[in-house]
Each structure stands twice: as C-alpha cells, then as structure tokens.
C-alpha cells in the first residue's frame, strides 16, 4: 500500500503542500477579514440595515423607493432586515455582517449601539451635513426634543438624526385596577403609591401578577435605579455641541440649557447604595409575591401576558401602544402614566435613528436618504401601527392614538423632560451581558449586593479594556 502512493504525489509531498496551503488559507482568511467592503456594491444602490423582519424591510424599501427616485432617478434603496430579540442581538449581527465584508451605507442604530459604533469610527459624523443643510432641517429640530438629539451625540459630534424613541413609562391594566378598587394613578404619583397599588392588585386574586418586568438595560430594574437617583455609570457630558445648539435651537434656549456634546459615561457605579436599594426593591417585590421571576431580554412574553390581562402594571414605552393593540387589547383596557417618583423623578429613554457608515462611497446620497427618512411623512411608512414613539412632537397627537390607545398618550413625550438616556457606553455589549447575568444572579440568590459587586467588577474590567 505504501509503495502505491510512493509516486510523484507521495504522502509527504501531499502533507507539505497541504500544510502550506492551510497556513496560507488561515492567514489569508484572517487578513482578509480585517478589511471590509466599502458601502454599496453596485452604482446607485443605497444599502440599509433595518432592525426587523425581512418582510417589513421589503415593505419599507418598496414604500420609500418612489421618494428615493425623486432624489436620484438612478438611485435604488436596498433594505435588509435583521432579526433580533433586542438591540444587543441586532448590533451583534450588524457587526458580524460588517466583519463579513458587506458594510451598509445607512444603518438604523438605537442608543444602545451609538457610542460603540461611533467610537469604532464605523459611523461618520454628520456635523458638516447638518451645518450645510441647517435651514432645511430647522423644521426638524423645531419639532424634535433636544434630549433626543443630545442622546445621538458623542464627543461633541452628531452621529444620527433620531426619528423615534421610547421612554420608560408605567403601563397598567384598567380592569385589574378597577377590580382592586383602585383609581388610575396621577402624574405625580410616588413609589409608595405604586407599592400600595401592587399589593391591592395582588390581593384581588385571580391568575394575575401585580407587576412584571424584563431583564434588560431599557425599562428594567434600571427604571427603579434611575428613579432612585442612581445609574450604572457615572453621568457626565462631553464638551462641545455648541455648533449645533446655538444654531438649531437658537430660538429655544431654555430647552437646551445644560446640553453639551453627548453623554459621557464615566466610572461604573453599579454597586452604589442607590443601585443596591433599587435591585433589592424588585427582589422584594418577587419575594412578597407581587411580581414573578422576570424573563431575560425581548419582552414579547411580557406583552402577551399583559395583553391577556394577567399583569397589573409593567414598564413600557410608546411601542406598547401598537404592540398591545396588535395583540388584541382594546383601547381603554389599558392606560399609561409616568414612572412613579422615588427619590427623584428621573426616568430613562432610548432613541432610534439613522447613521451613515464611514466606509460608504455614497455618503452624499445617503445623507439625502437620511433626511428624507426623518420627514413626518416617512414615519408611518417606516413604523406602521404605532410600534414606537415618534421623535417629532407634532406627530404625537390624539388622532394618532385614537385607534390603539392609550388615553394618556401624552406622557410619552412629556416624560422626556428631565429624562436621561440609557447608559450605553462604547462597551455596551459587555455591560448588557453583565447586567443580564448579575440581575438573574441577584433574583435567584436574593443577594443584590453580591451580584452588584460582581457587576461592578465586570464593568470596571470592560471599561478598562475598551
């Protein structure tokens, strides 16, 4: 047998060739991965990544195409839907796609991923474009809360034009409140009233939970942490941003007081007294039977349970209006109020918008598309059915919420005053992983301090590595 392969193609030669080939292939694949293709493949095609299913992405693409054609007859929009349970999942998939060599021109990015993508120079600053087109954008800035704009800034530069947001408000089932003999909460309700309501709903019986929540950065026990005056990271602001505030909001100086060049997330404060107290509070809710053990990420299960009237109160944003309506909940069967005041009335929000990839070869056209997408007429094409809150105040109207509810829809936008974006630093993914793990550890063990000490160590490590 050995003799038979002792030919010009003998085993040793084959191994040598194979070994050299493997080494070359390995190194080639590694170095090949380090560069990614710049923007669109074909001329005139603007590629966009969209958080959602491909069917919705295709519908969006078809809806926007006629408007794109008005900008440039040869331009074609190609929207790719990326599924994910949350923004963390979406972001991981976007980065994988970038690594595979197909970076888009435009990407929809929420607060969760803004600083990560900006710090890696994946997104291009929009400062020069905004300055150039300030007059045509004035109506946009006049209609958009400065808190949303500031949440899309990083180190003094604007990286996205936000078109949507969700503030962490408190949704409640009107029927379960009535059953417990409770009146609907007022705008200035407190944590004590929240606790009383939860206790009474629990006592009213039935297969229900007084309160439920989901483990994630947005609208989790973090809402309690914010209301308690704390945060996971030290709050600060980058200097700069005057180039924007002095022009775009020149007529509304009071709204921009204290606005600077974006949120600067500093030293981790995950095991602060406020954080421990907030996490202990939600653990106590569970231990006392006022809430079940929470799920991790997503929120579809929570929405399903709420829609079937099995949850008295939960944290939700404007996206719940359409979500609950689509789940079969009738207007009037649920309502919303601002998050209750604890030591402070600070609440949280997350915003969404569109950024342009730094590698795009069609930045000018992409900018025109981004401007078009933040027009009022585009909002319902992009988000049909009240599945998020519009960043434009003029679109938050009674007419908009007439079909879906809730009756108290105005709290969505009103809550932005005094609100702080979710703390999503450049190492957001590591923060989200730690938050999920340490929160479930605390819920399981009942020891909030030990879990948050662990989280503090995780965040310090991640911050040092970023």
């Amino acid at each position: 047998m050995t003799n038979r392969i002792n030919t010009p193609l003998d085993r040793r030669t084959l191994f040598k060739i194979g070994g050299a080939g493997l080494a070359a292939a390995g190194l080639t694949s590694l170095t090949g991965c380090s560069t990614f293709a710049a923007g669109s493949g074909s001329t005139g095609t603007i590629k966009m990544l969209y958080f959602g299913q491909q069917s919705a992405a295709t519908a969006l693409q078809n809806a926007l195409q006629p408007q794109i054609a008005k900008l440039d007859k040869t331009a074609k929009l190609e929207v790719t839907g990326i599924n994910g349970t949350d923004w963390n999942d979406f972001l991981a998939k976007v980065l994988t796609q970038v690594a595979s060599g197909s970076a888009p021109d435009i990407v929809s990015v929420a607060t969760e991923g803004l600083q990560l993508m900006a710090s890696k120079e994946l997104l291009t600053p929009l400062d020069s474009y905004v300055t150039k087109d300030m007059s045509s954008l004035q109506s946009y800035f006049d209609d958009t809360h400065p808190a949303l704009i500031e949440s899309m800034m990083y180190q003094g530069h604007l990286y996205e034009l936000p078109d949507s947001f969700n503030a962490g408000s408190m949704f409640y089932s009107t029927s379960l409140l009535q059953k417990a003999g409770l009146a609907e909460p007022s705008a200035n309700w407190t944590m004590d009233e929240f606790h009383t309501n939860a206790t009474k709903i629990a006592r009213s019986g039935g297969d229900t939970n007084a309160f439920d929540w989901v483990v994630r950065l947005w609208g989790s026990w973090t809402s309690f942490l914010y209301a308690n005056g704390g945060n996971l990271l030290e709050e600060g602001k980058y200097s700069g941003g005057d180039w924007l505030w002095n022009k775009a909001y020149a007529n509304n100086g009071t709204a921009t007081a204290g606005r600077q060049g974006g949120w600067k997330w500093g030293t981790p404060t995950a095991n602060s007294a406020e954080a421990i107290e907030a996490l202990e509070y939600v653990i106590d809710l569970q231990r006392s039977g006022l809430s079940p053990s929470p799920d991790v990420g997503g929120g579809s299960t929570l929405q399903g349970l709420f829609a079937s009237d099995r949850i008295g109160m939960t944290i939700g944003g404007g996206f719940w209006a359409g979500g609950l309506h689509n789940a079969g909940m009738k207007d009037g069967s649920f309502n919303v109020q601002k998050f209750p005041t604890w030591k402070t009335n600070k609440s949280l929000f997350g915003a969404g918008g569109y950024g342009i990839f730094d590698s795009s070869k069609k930045k000018d056209l992409a900018w025109e598309v981004v401007k078009m997408m933040v027009q009022p007429s585009s909002f319902d094409l992009i988000f049909p059915g009240n599945v998020t809150t519009s960043g434009r105040k003029s679109l938050n109207t009674a007419e908009r919420y007439k079909t879906t509810g809730p009756a108290n829809w105005s709290v969505f936008y009103d809550q932005l005053d005094g609100s702080v974006p979710i703390s999503a630093p450049p190492y957001y993914n590591a923060l989200a992983t730690s938050l999920n793990q340490r929160t479930t550890q605390a819920i399981s063990s009942g020891n909030a301090k030990a879990a948050l000490d662990g989280m503090q160590a995780d965040l310090e490590k991640a911050a040092a590595a970023s």
Partner: protein, 322 residues
C-alpha cells in the same frame, strides 16, 4: 496462547516469501501502481477537500486568530500568547468550563442510560410494526430544530405560565423555578438535551442489540441467566464497542452545548448555565474580542481531545471486542 507454542494461527507459522525467491516486478507494474495511486487520490479528494475547507482551515484560522487581538473593525494585532494568559486568569471563562463539564457529564450519563434502557425495551417487542413505531417515535426529536425545541421547551418550563408548573400546581405541588434557579436551570438543560439527543444513542443500541449473536444469548439462557444477568453479563459486554462510540459522540456534542442554554436561560441565572461556547460567543460576537474567543475555542478543543483520549484509554480495559 504461549509464544513458545507454534500453531497454524501463530505468527511464526505464516509462510514468508524467501528473499531469493522475490520475483522481479513485471514491466509496467510501476506505471499501473502510480495510476492506481492517482485514482485513489482522485476518489478521496472530494472528502479531503470538504474536510480541509470546512474543518481544517477554520481550526487553523482559529488557532492563528487566537494569537491576535482583533475587534472585527480595525486590523488584527499580534499579541502572542496573551489571550491564553488572560484566559488562565479569567474566572468567568474557567467557571464556564466547569459548568460545561458538569452539564456534559449529566447529559452523557443520562443519555447512555436512557438510550440503552429504551433500546432493550424496544428490542424485546416481538411485532415488527411495534418496533418500527417506537424506533421512529424516539428518533423524531432528533430531527427537530434545536432552536425551535429550546423555544418551545422554554415556554413549557416557564415558571409563570409553563404547562409543567400548571400541572404541578394543579396536583397541589409547588411550582418549580425550572429556569430561574441554579439547580433548576441546569437540570432542565440536561433533561431537554437528553430528550432531544437520546434518539441517536437509542438507534445505535437497537442496531447493536439486534445484531447480537443469538447463540450467545441462547447459551446464557440454557445456563440459567435471567434477563438482568443476561443484560449485565452478556449484552452490555457484547455491545461495549457501541457504548464506547456513543459515549465519545455524546461527550463531544455535550461539550459544545450552546443552543439550549443560550435560548432558554441566556446562560443564567447568573452564570449557572453559561457554557464555554456561550462565553466564546460573548467574547467574539458581543464584546468584539475575536482573538480571545478563538483562544477559548482552542482550549475547548484541547479539553475535548483530552477527554476523548481518556475515554479511549479507559476503553482498553472496559470494551470487549469479539
């Protein structure tokens, strides 16, 4: 057999060609041999190409990548063995290897015991349709998507509205925190993985039991061995090569456990079900540390190779080859 006793079967009895009698190769024999060699290479080349492209190159690329610091976006930077040094001191990663080993041990043991038990029971059935029915039934879960099974089972085992807890509480028993307590989540992951994977082990054991020589079983019956003694003393030794194979395959699969804990518990509560592959995913795809993720992958590969080697060493004393 003593080496001093030459018999027809002994090596010394095999006639060897005398050096002087070696026949000179026929003219053209070398050409024929070469042609056959090339033909042989051509025949196996698709398989070699497949394994090279989809197994060897990724492993090699992973090995090379583990020596770099790479965040996908900027160019990779050579860091030598830094990733491995960091790994050795990373409590989260070391803990995940421990979790993986515990889960793998539970899965392999339960899978072998259940697979063998079911195979023995099904093999005792006399009617062919009955055997075919059970074979199909137990194999079916293996054909289902692991992701779909994990999502479905996640709902079933949900502490709030899961059907399992619904029936438990209906019977007056307390609801169990299947996915929200340390022991509950580990147990649930093991049970679901075994439920889905046991079909593979089961089918292998059924085949081994079916092909067992009937004369040996008849001899055992004549000697008065009962069903249990026949199983322990005759059947299990006879199918021990199959048990070895099933153990190795189950262990390799279990050490790469990802879908079930990732979907059902996200590795929680805390890090109770955070396996090595989940940490690898988090390092690479969430924290953008692909070099570090590759280092974890390489260490996991070495651990799997070491465990497989240990199983084979142990098999020298435990496995009976006819």
């Amino acid at each position: 057999m003593s080496s001093s006793t030459d018999t027809l079967e002994s090596p010394s009895a095999i006639p060897r060609p005398h050096p002087e009698r070696r026949v000179a190769p026929r003219p053209g024999a070398r050409r024929t041999a070469r042609r056959e060699g090339i033909f042989g290479f051509l025949m196996i080349s698709p398989a070699v190409l497949f394994v090279t492209v989809f197994t060897l190159v990724p492993i090699l690329a992973s090995l090379v990548l583990s020596l770099f610091s790479w965040d996908v976006i900027t160019a990779p930077k050579f860091v030598g063995l830094n990733n491995y040094q960091r790994l050795a001191a990373d409590g989260t990663v070391l803990h995940s290897f421990g979790v993986t080993l515990i889960l793998a041990l539970g899965i392999v043991i339960l899978q072998l015991v259940c697979g063998l038990g079911l195979a023995v029971l099904v093999n005792q059935r006399r009617k062919p349709w009955s055997k075919a029915f059970f074979r199909t039934t137990f194999y079916l879960p293996l054909l289902a998507s692991t992701a779909a099974v994990s999502i479905f089972m996640g709902y079933m085992f949900d502490a709030k509205f899961g059907v399992i807890n619904y029936y438990l509480t209906s019977l007056g028993l307390p609801a169990i925190p299947w996915l929200t307590s340390t022991w509950g989540s580990m147990l649930t992951i093991v049970l679901i993985t075994v439920w889905q994977q046991v079909g593979f082990t089961f089918v292998m054991f059924v085949a081994a039991l079916t092909s067992m020589p009937s004369d040996v079983l008849e001899a055992a019956a004549i000697d008065g061995a009962g069903p249990l003694r026949t199983l322990v003393r005759v059947k299990i030794p006879l199918i021990s090569p199959t048990i070895l194979f099933a153990t190795v395959v189950a262990m390799i699969n279990a050490m790469q456990l990802f879908d079930q804990p990732f979907i059902m518990t996200k590795g929680g509560p805390g890090t109770a079900t955070t396996t090595a592959t989940i940490v690898m995913y988090q390092a690479g795809f969430q924290n953008l540390q692909f070099g570090y993720g590759s280092a974890i992958a390489m260490v996991l590969l070495l651990i799997i190779l070491a465990i497989t080697g240990l199983i084979f060493i142990a098999s020298r004393k435990l496995v009976f080859y006819q």
